[in-house]
Structure formats: structure tokens, C-alpha cells
């Protein structure tokens, strides 16, 4: 038997946590590896498509641009007028894909497994907005970007999907979803940019 183990794109950064930190960091970076990702495309104007997807996910797809809908074990993110990204717990993409394939068999639609193509870094801490603002042109103020929304944009030189997280209008943290080929770059960018806010306290854990 081969001894296979999963390794996230930021596995190298995770081990940095062991370096030990003191005080309360202004920025806390936490990778959430191995989540399931499904790219879903279909006609948002077709009620039968929307109903079929809702039957599987048990949550309606978000139709307003740059918003999310949260189900029990899925976050559906608006990516375009006919495109969504489904974020699922690790491993859950297999069952979701099978169910979507069955439910959408008669539709002009697609559900593609993009798990392994992305990883997610959660950015928390009191200075979370200042950190992101260093490399992002979006207005991150709660009045224009708060939980329930999402946005594809650039962070540094990497394309990312940003999701404000938490209750109420003031996001307690931001999920940053990045392609795995950019994860190393973005991990270094985040750590370097976070240095002034938390010293060694900022590590991808």
C-alpha cells in the first residue's frame, strides 16, 4: 500500500506557525485547505435550472452580482451572470457533483470539479482591512463590502475571490480564494504585508 497524503499549496507556510508567536497579532492568516470547489454554469433565467440546483444544494443560487448564498454545507458564490462557485466541506464535492449531474442531465448546464485548483486563506485580526487594502483596489469599508457579498478582484498581482465573513455588516474576517499556482506568491505577499501589523504573529497556520 502506498502511503498517500494530501499536501496543501501552502503546506510550507503551515509549518511556520511552530515558530511560536507572542502578543496579539494585528493580522491572523489561516489557511483552510482541501475544501471542495465546484464550478457551476447554467441559465439564470431558466426557472427549472434554478429549481434543479436548489433541489440538490437546498439553497437558492444567488442571482444578484457579487453576492453569496449559504446553505447548510455549501457556500454558493456569484461569479458571473451564468456562473457560480460552490464551496463545500472537504470531500463533499464528490456527492454534490454526482447529484448535480443527475439533476441537470436534461439542462444546458455544467458542473465541473475544480477542487485542488484553489486554496483559501482566511484573513482576520484588527488590521485585516489595512492589510488587504495594500494590494486591492476595492473599497473594503463595511458600507460597501460586507458579509453576504463577494468579489473577484486582484490582490497584489494575483486574481482572487474575496468573501467577507461574519455576522452583521462589519466583516470579522475575509476569505481569500486563490488559484493554487498563485498560492505560494500570495502566501508570501500576505506574510510580508502583514509583518508591520503583527510581527511574527502573522503566519499562515
Amino acid at each position: 500500500m502506498s502511503d498517500l497524503r494530501q499536501e496543501s499549496p501552502l503546506a510550507g507556510f503551515r509549518s511556520n506557525t511552530a515558530a511560536g508567536e507572542a502578543g496579539s497579532p494585528g493580522v491572523i492568516l489561516t489557511e483552510r485547505p482541501f475544501l471542495g470547489y465546484v464550478n457551476l454554469r447554467g441559465d439564470a433565467g431558466d426557472a427549472t435550472f434554478l429549481a434543479a440546483v436548489e433541489g440538490v444544494l437546498r439553497v437558492a443560487l444567488p442571482l444578484d452580482p457579487n453576492t453569496i448564498a449559504e446553505g447548510e454545507d455549501v457556500t454558493a458564490c456569484w461569479m458571473g451572470p451564468d456562473e457560480w462557485l460552490l464551496i463545500l466541506p472537504p470531500g463533499a464535492q464528490t456527492r454534490a457533483l454526482a447529484a448535480l449531474g443527475e439533476a441537470l442531465a436534461a439542462h444546458h448546464a455544467s458542473a465541473v470539479d475544480t477542487t485542488g485548483g484553489y486554496t483559501l486563506v482566511n484573513v482576520a485580526g484588527a488590521r485585516r482591512r489595512e492589510l488587504l487594502a495594500k494590494g486591492c483596489t476595492l473599497d473594503l469599508h463595511p458600507r460597501s463590502f460586507s458579509p453576504g457579498q463577494c468579489a473577484q478582484t486582484n490582490l497584489g498581482k494575483a486574481g482572487v475571490l474575496l468573501i467577507p465573513r461574519g455576522d452583521g455588516s462589519d466583516a470579522q474576517s475575509f476569505d481569500v480564494i486563490v488559484r493554487r499556482s498563485f498560492a505560494d506568491y500570495l502566501g508570501l505577499w500576505l506574510q510580508h504585508s502583514a509583518r508591520e501589523y503583527g510581527g511574527a504573529g502573522a503566519a499562515v497556520s
Binding site: M79, T137, T153, G159
Partner: protein, 93 residues
């Protein structure tokens, strides 16, 4: 830096967009029946407008959709944006 209004995402920084040339150029349905001059006209010849120009942009770092923009090529002012398939604003020259 321009602030460009994506018809879906709203105003975003110019750095998120890619310019994609003049809008409303229709690919000939039967290219094999065209003369070289007609094919070259389709491929290469553009209006080079001074003033209001109808052009395509792609929200490359955002929703990755193409849309149309009416932009003054003298002032760079963007006067309107509209989705593919929608008619251009006003009378087209």
C-alpha cells in the same frame, strides 16, 4: 486611472479590465466568398474615431464578461456601458 462601470459588478478600477477593440464588428457568415480586400477590411480596418467610440472591454479580473463601452477618445470620458446584445446608445454614426 479610470473607474470603469462593469454592467454587472459596478464601478471597478481600470486595472481589472482588458480593452478588446472596436465593438459591433460582425464576422462575415461566408468568408470563403469574400475578396481579399473585403476580408482584410473585416480583419484590420477600424474607424479610428476621434470622439465617441463604441468599443469592447472585458472585466478580466472580475466577472470575466465582455461588454460594450461608449468612450470619448479625446477626453477618455466613458459616457455609457451596455451589455452584449443591447443596442448602442443614441444614433450610431
Amino acid at each position: 486611472m479610470l473607474l470603469i462601470e462593469c454592467p454587472w459588478c459596478g464601478p471597478r478600477d481600470e486595472s481589472e479590465f482588458a480593452y478588446s477593440g472596436e465593438a459591433h464588428i460582425v464576422r462575415p457568415l461566408t468568408p470563403e466568398e469574400l475578396t481579399d480586400e473585403e476580408w482584410a477590411d473585416y480583419l484590420f480596418c477600424r474607424r479610428n474615431t476621434r470622439g465617441d467610440h463604441l468599443e469592447q472591454w472585458c472585466h478580466a479580473s472580475g466577472c470575466r464578461r465582455y461588454f460594450n463601452v461608449q468612450r470619448d477618445t479625446v477626453t477618455y470620458r466613458i459616457k455609457s456601458v451596455y451589455k452584449p446584445g443591447e443596442p448602442p446608445p443614441g444614433d450610431r454614426p
